[in-house]
């Protein structure tokens, strides 16, 4: 941070960077923050949205099956599929993201006894949105954070699946945080319609809780009133699918005002929104550019960290050492992020 904060701190350049970063992000097609689905797309969360709705809709079978050659071995089965229809559950709901925004998801649930049945199956509906004077088919994607991928109308739906509502580059963009009407059309005369009101984060408990700690909270954090000091955080994969490692390096000063750093590291369970009692340490007996034998790592104290949103690091700290020359103290701080990392934009 140090110099990032130093160079950017409290001056026009800082504002310039942040404004430019925002403008750059706005150029993208994303309909929700890239960081919203750091843990993947979840099935079956409609009940967690107080405004989420589910409705039954009969989807027809695969028209392609109607044209199978009568002499083909699968002709009889194809005729069944050609005339097949299945009542699925269409769920539409929002999930809160950082910064008062949300993402909107569409889920298609097949009946339990038909999950994965590829002999008889429904096909993907037509989905369109009306927002004020703008009406259009929308892009639906099975992976988060895409710019181009989409589901095709009449494509097979073999199992319950979930899709993000997206925009298309070059087409007018919907703002799914504002009020809109979503229509899911079975292409054979029936449709279900969902009227979304303007997204209100106050209706979603998760919107006001700390963020689940993911790689998107890797970054640089500082106090704008005290530029020159800061914390660099990294969130690393442990590779066990259950935990991650949080690492923080605190760039600060000793009692003489000279540069000094502390280091903190802890493992935490994926999904945690805060990490408590992270051991903080200070090193000794090192040298510059490898000119040393082995450092000594000493306990300094503890810190607790959480992230109210992508832009803020909330932490408390308490030293337990009285080693000479080592910065010590205790307190609570709220620091702000400097900049957005390329390819890991948290907003």
């Amino acid at each position: 941070m140090s110099q990032v904060a130093a160079t950017l701190r409290g001056c026009a350049l800082l504002a310039g960077i942040l404004v430019a970063t925002q403008a750059f992000a706005d150029l993208s097609v994303h309909a929700y923050p890239q960081s919203c689905f750091a843990d993947g797309l979840p099935l079956g969360q409609v009940a967690r949205d107080p405004h989420g709705q589910s409705l039954p809709l009969s989807l027809h079978g695969d028209f392609n099956a109607c044209f199978v050659n009568p002499v083909a071995p699968n002709y009889a089965a194809s005729q069944v599929e050609c005339h097949y229809s299945e009542t699925v559950t269409i769920a539409a709901f929002r999930v809160p993201c950082s910064g008062g925004t949300s993402a909107t998801l569409l889920e298609i649930d097949r009946p339990v006894n038909m999950q994965g049945n590829t002999n008889s199956y429904p096909t993907f509906p037509g989905v369109w949105v009306k927002q004020q004077n703008l009406i259009g088919y929308i892009r639906l994607a099975a992976d988060p954070n895409t710019t181009n991928s989409q589901m095709y109308v009449n494509g097979p739906v073999y199992r319950s699946s979930i899709y993000t509502l997206e925009n298309t580059i070059g087409a007018p963009a919907f703002d799914y945080n504002q009020a809109f009407t979503l229509t899911v059309d079975n292409n054979t005369g029936f449709a279900v319609q969902f009227d979304f009101a303007t997204y209100n984060p106050a209706d979603y408990p998760a919107a006001t809780q700390g963020m689940p700690i993911s790689g998107y909270l890797t970054g640089a954090w500082y106090d704008p009133a005290h530029g020159g000091e800061g914390i660099l955080t990294e969130v690393l994969d442990n590779g066990d699918g259950a935990t991650r490692t949080f690492a923080a390096t605190w760039y600060t000063f000793d009692a003489l005002g000279a540069p000094y750093w502390l280091i903190a590291q802890a493992s935490f369970a994926i999904g945690a929104t805060h990490i408590d009692n992270v051991p903080v340490q200070f090193d000794g007996n090192g040298g510059f550019a490898g000119a040393f034998t082995a450092v000594t790592r000493n306990p300094w104290g503890m810190m607790n960290v959480s992230f109210p949103d992508c832009g803020h690091l909330h932490f408390s700290y308490a030293s337990s050492t009285n080693a000479s020359g080592v910065p010590t103290g205790s307190g609570t701080r709220d620091w702000v992020r400097i900049g957005n990392l390329h390819a890991l934009s948290c907003n």
Binding site: Q3, V4, A6, A20, T21, F24, A25, L27, A38, D39, N64, V68, A72, G126, D143, T146, N148, Y152, V153, N154, Y158, R159, I169, D185, N187, G189, F190, V192, Q193, D195, S214, T218, G219, A220, E229, E234, V235, G239, D240, G241, Y251, F253, P259, Y260, W261, L262, I270, D283, G284, G286, G287, F288, A289, G290, F292, A294, V295, L341, H342, A343
Partner: protein, 409 residues
């Protein structure tokens, strides 16, 4: 939210932008629906977020984890979809050696009563160099050079909708896996943007515009993880069969081993373009306790900011930090003579009166030979603090850890 179910006033059938309802209607293309079903089955991601390839090579574990990854996630991080590039998030212009040729695809002809037609397109296959760390990964079992494999379908009349071709069945034969494998292990996922897990191009989907695709593996636990860097055969099939049910619309191209030289793939022997994937922690394994943290920030779509903080020690062995920062053009593979500085006059946890004083230490130059290595040179001294770190030299540090959601391989 208010929701309702209703019958449409008109029995509209919205198929705009959809697969053509009758594309598979020709009786001599009976296998399309089955092919679609098979590919959909292969899109069930494995429950585990990590995996091991068929060869037993360990796979770096990530979340959003694509255990079936076919190339490093950072490989296309500087390619932005744009109107000029027909909004494609993959390169639209080939580079290096190309393979392929003319392929006859099924075409949907709105001017014909039965809609059945064909169209000759050019399918070009090429590779682009990615970070080659030498790590043995599921998609790179021999630890050799790594590339991503692209494929472009070029129409002679791109954009024409009165008659348009549809996407073929694409299969790969490699090693013990032959075409028409009984367990569908020859199926390859083909997608219009990088770093997806589930997205796929449906067989028989319309190909309106000339389009670039990247070859991927299916996430299904029984699907193949192809070593795209090694030689393979790729087959395109428009689905037509003869009266005996034998396919008549197949063509196979050979793609040789990826063996980059300075002339064929210049990027393979150069450092990586500097992007967010090179954010991380770096150190010398023989001198643990000292290291450099790098972060690469977005700025304006043309330039980025590189920031490095060197956590080191003064002459008394006490922790001391230096910080470097530089602005560079997107695409640059090195940054030279960044200013390195440090600050004095600060205190702990904001316990000081700003401003602190920025002191110049010297300069630093960096480049990244691969995702796992940072090469840098430095030259400076600490005039404002007695016994502060001073010196010059060149070093190569290695990466510590893999940042969640930003795995550089």
């Amino acid at each position: 939210m208010y929701a309702k179910r209703f019958r449409l006033a008109l029995a509209l059938t919205f198929v705009a932008g959809a697969t053509s309802l009758w594309a598979a209607g020709d009786a001599s293309r009976p296998g399309i629906a089955a092919e679609q079903a098979t590919r959909a089955r292969l899109l069930v991601p494995t429950a585990n977020t990590s995996g091991t390839s068929a060869s037993g090579t360990s796979q770096a574990k990530e979340l959003i984890a694509n255990s079936a990854r076919a190339y490093p996630a950072g490989c296309f991080s500087d390619t932005q979809p744009s109107a000029a590039g027909n909004i494609e998030p993959l390169p639209v212009v080939t580079s290096g050696p190309t393979y392929g040729g003319t392929v006859t695809l099924y075409a949907y002809d709105t001017t014909q009563s039965n809609h059945d037609s064909t169209e000759n397109v050019t399918i070009t296959i090429w590779r682009v160099a990615c970070s080659s760390s030498g790590d043995k990964l599921s998609y790179n079992p021999d630890g050799g050079p790594v590339a991503a494999t692209l494929m472009r379908i070029t129409r002679t009349s791109s954009g024409t909708t009165s008659k348009y071709p549809t996407f073929p069945s694409v299969r790969i034969s490699q090693g013990s896996i032959g075409f028409d494998d009984a367990n569908y292990r020859d199926y390859v996922r083909v997608v219009t943007e990088p770093n997806t897990v589930i997205a796929d191009t449906l067989v028989d989907a319309p190909v309106i515009d000339s389009t670039t695709y990247v070859l991927e593996n299916y996430p299904y636990s029984g699907a193949s993880i192809f070593a795209m860097n090694q030689a393979f055969q790729i087959r395109f099939d428009n689905g037509y069969t003869n009266g005996s049910g034998q396919p008549t619309g197949q063509i196979v191209f050979n793609v040789p081993d990826y063996n980059p030289t300075a002339s064929t793939y210049p990027a393979a022997s150069q450092p990586l373009p500097i992007n967010g994937y090179l954010s991380g922690s770096w150190y010398d394994p023989t001198h643990s306790g000292e290291g450099i943290l790098t972060q690469v920030f977005d700025v304006d779509g043309k330039t980025r900011i590189f920031a490095a903080t060197w956590y080191t020690f003064d002459n008394a062995g006490i922790p001391f930090w230096l910080a470097a920062q530089g602005t560079f053009n997107i695409g640059a593979t090195s940054i030279s003579n960044m200013t390195v500085g440090y600050r004095t006059g600060g205190g702990f946890a904001g316990n000081f009166t700003p401003p602190t004083t920025l002191q110049t230490w010297g300069t630093m130059s960096v480049s990244f030979p691969s995702c796992q290595k940072m090469s840098f040179s430095y030259n400076g001294n600490t005039s404002a603090v007695n016994g502060g770190p001073s010196g010059s030299g060149s070093k190569t540090f290695v990466r510590i850890g893999s940042i969640n959601s930003l795995s550089c391989q």
